[in-house]
């Protein structure tokens, strides 16, 4: 079998490259969490970072956002190296499992974010209704269920103006119907010109929402492209993402 790199498809070139991740390496002591990870993100797409737990998805998102120092590698924005201080100008990273400012009321947290990013009340209201947060605006963050806490985080991300959103496990904590609703919302966000990178370990969810995929295992990129591209790589013409993922990892 040919080496993996030669089997990976080249960027399609259909959409302009927004951001390039170039040879990012990160180790925790002896353990290598990311090994020479490189890929492109195209403008307006929904890119899925797919991998099992511990494959390096969160580490990669944090490295891209600049909230985790890396050993090597760089992030290139429209052809120019993006320094740490400028990451926050174009990238917003939504971590997984956060319940920030938990002694505050939901409405105040949203108001704070809307004020920081100069969002009007109507924009804030639209976001609140978009993610279905209205019923819990008067509750403290600490009193929210897992699903509503996730919606709050999503609302915070949507209130930001950044062209690139990185989201870690955005569908965790949602049931099937809620997941579908949130997927619809994310699609509308992408349709409005924002680019999204979603770290997802549920392959069924990923297959439904993502335009392209980066498959990670043991901190290495094992495949990237559309599902069609990956099927070609694996010689599995009618396979789903699950089979493709198993074949490549």
């Amino acid at each position: 079998m040919a080496p993996l790199a030669s089997r990976l498809p080249a960027p399609t070139g259909k959409a302009p490259v927004l951001l390039q991740v170039a040879a990012i390496t990160k180790s925790y002591g002896e353990q290598r969490a990311l090994a020479d990870v490189s890929f492109d993100i195209q403008r307006g797409e929904i890119l899925g970072l797919i991998g099992a737990n511990g494959s390096g998805k969160t580490t990669l998102l944090e490295a891209m956002a600049g909230v985790l120092p890396v050993d090597n590698g760089s992030v290139i924005w429209r052809g120019l190296a993006l320094s740490l201080v400028h990451r926050r100008d174009v990238i917003f990273y939504l971590p997984d499992g956060l319940r920030p400012w938990d002694d505050q009321y939901v409405e105040r947290v949203l108001e704070f974010f809307a004020a920081v990013y100069g969002r009007s009340k109507s924009e804030a209201s639209e976001t609140v209704h978009g993610v279905g947060l209205a019923p819990v605006l008067g509750k403290r963050v600490s009193a929210l269920s897992k699903g509503f806490a996730r919606r709050l985080m999503l609302a915070l991300a949507l209130l930001t103006p950044h062209p690139l959103l990185l989201m870690d496990e955005p569908f965790d904590g949602f049931d099937l119907k809620q997941t579908r609703d949130i997927m619809g919302l994310i699609r509308r966000v992408a349709a409005n010109g924002r680019t999204l990178v979603l770290a997802i370990h549920q392959l069924i969810d990923a297959e439904r929402i993502c335009d392209r995929f980066v498959l990670l295992a043991d901190g290495k990129v094992r495949g990237m492209g559309t599902l069609g591209d990956l099927r070609v790589c694996t010689d599995l013409p009618s396979a789903g993402l699950e089979d493709v993922f198993l074949a490549l990892t």
Partner: protein, 435 residues
């Protein structure tokens, strides 16, 4: 504001400050009763020493032991919950974030000081005398101390993964200051210099009505330095090596400013009784001594006479004269056994190539000796200006209902008010169901 730490500390402060105030007022009243019978005693009754310093003393203990928990919460909660990763992505510099946190700490300190301010107001309502410059100077000193503790707490929160660790780091700073006070106070040489690093030393001058420029600069630079270190260590995306390098540069910069601060001798005596100054006529005359004055003290540093001499003469001379050098010629001597029994207790003053010895610790004897060395006439004492003293017989019991009842109730009500649910804007709840 809605967190429990601040309000709990306020509730603890009420009885502590209240009891200190009660005791101070009671003792002051007893001393004032004696002054009624012997008017000469009245001049020793200063509200600064008798009421303000003891009342602020309870506040100092609370700020040292409890305020760190309030201050580090400003950052510690965000580190623990992971919200820091959101915070550093906001469109602000890290220094701006730390500046905002310092502002929050300052607001928390202002709220914390309210029981003490109420005690001062009650003292005034009782008819007690307050001299605004020395009172404000004392408040200013405590505010500098509070901000320094706050900055240390923020730094501790920035370098620690949990609030518990941050609390231990902060308390290590504050409590080790007490250790320095007890272990090294009165020691000569390097030990004396190390003992000056104690945080509690920051308040001593203000409690004596002094506003020393060097100390203010030193505390301000230490506060700024800890805040800068907090900013350096806050961002999780910066590599450890870069943080260490920046920290070294920051510590060097703080060290330079502190070194400059130690050389600043300028200070203003804001005490009403001018306890840190010689009489006005002497101060005017001494201002004419431009040559170096060398004072050699043959006493052990822990000798009470040396402490008297320092308070009554040396510190005042150092404030006025441009070039004073004080030498302890008794390194290795102790009060109970000196290497040269005959000279022990002597103080030698050398000025303009002449010298004279004295065993006195009073400026009334030392200053004429200095005038003699400088071949100057002894100035005539200026008339008036003596501190009259402010005796006041009043019962401290009257203040206790405020500190043990009304003020805690007011704090609880304010706490409850600060935790109330917000009014949800109508456009948020349109089509959105219940709120």
């Amino acid at each position: 504001m809605s967190g429990r730490a601040l309000w709990t500390m306020l509730l603890i402060l009420c009885p502590l400050v209240g009891y200190s105030f009660f005791q101070a007022v009671t003792l002051y009243g007893e001393a004032s009763s004696a002054a009624r019978e012997q008017p000469a005693l009245a001049s020793g009754l200063s509200p600064l020493d008798g009421v303000l310093v003891p009342t602020f003393g309870a506040f100092y203990v609370t700020v040292t032991l409890l305020f760190p928990f309030v201050a580090l919460r400003a950052l510690g909660r965000e580190k623990e919950s992971g919200a820091l990763r959101l915070l550093v992505q906001l469109p602000y510099r890290v220094s701006t974030l730390i500046g905002a946190k310092m502002m929050a700490v300052m607001v928390a300190w202002l709220i914390s000081v309210s029981p003490v301010i109420s005690a001062v107001a009650i003292w005034s309502a009782f008819g007690g005398h307050l001299y605004a410059p020395e009172t404000l100077n004392l408040v200013f000193g405590h505010s500098l101390y509070g901000l320094l503790i706050g900055a240390i707490a923020l730094f501790a929160a920035a370098i620690s993964e949990s609030s518990a660790t941050a609390a231990i780091v902060t308390l290590a700073f504050t409590i080790s200051s007490w250790v320095l006070d007890f272990a090294l106070a009165g020691q000569p040489g390097v030990l004396a210099w190390i003992s000056r690093l104690s945080l509690t030393q920051t308040l001593r001058a203000f409690e004596q009505g002094l506003l020393p420029a060097g100390l203010v600069l030193g505390i301000a630079s230490a506060t700024g330095g800890f805040a800068a270190l907090a900013a350096i260590w806050l961002h999780p995306g910066v590599a450890l090596s870069a943080k260490l390098m920046r920290s070294v540069l920051c510590v060097c910069a703080i060290g330079i400013v502190l070194a400059i601060a130690t050389q600043l001798k300028t200070s203003v005596d804001l005490s009403e009784d001018r306890r840190n100054s010689f009489p006005a006529a002497d101060e005017q005359a001494l201002a004419g001594l431009r040559q170096p004055l060398v004072i050699t003290v043959h006493m052990a540093p822990e000798d009470p006479r040396y402490i008297d001499l320092q308070r009554n003469v040396l510190s005042k001379l150092e404030r006025i004269l441009p070039d004073v050098t004080v030498r302890l010629a008794t390194i290795g001597q102790t009060v109970v056994g000196s290497t040269s029994e005959e000279s022990y207790g002597e103080v030698e003053y050398s000025y303009g190539g002449r010298s004279a010895k004295s065993r006195s610790t009073s400026h009334r004897e030392v200053l004429p000796l200095l005038y003699g060395l400088a071949a100057m006439p002894i100035p005539a004492p200026a008339a008036g200006g003596d501190f009259p003293g402010y005796p006041l017989v009043v019962s401290g019991w009257d203040a206790l209902p405020w500190f043990l009842g009304a003020l805690p109730l007011l704090i609880v009500v304010t706490w409850w008010w600060s935790r109330r649910a917000p009014n949800i804007p109508s456009q948020f709840i349109e089509d959105g169901g219940q709120s």
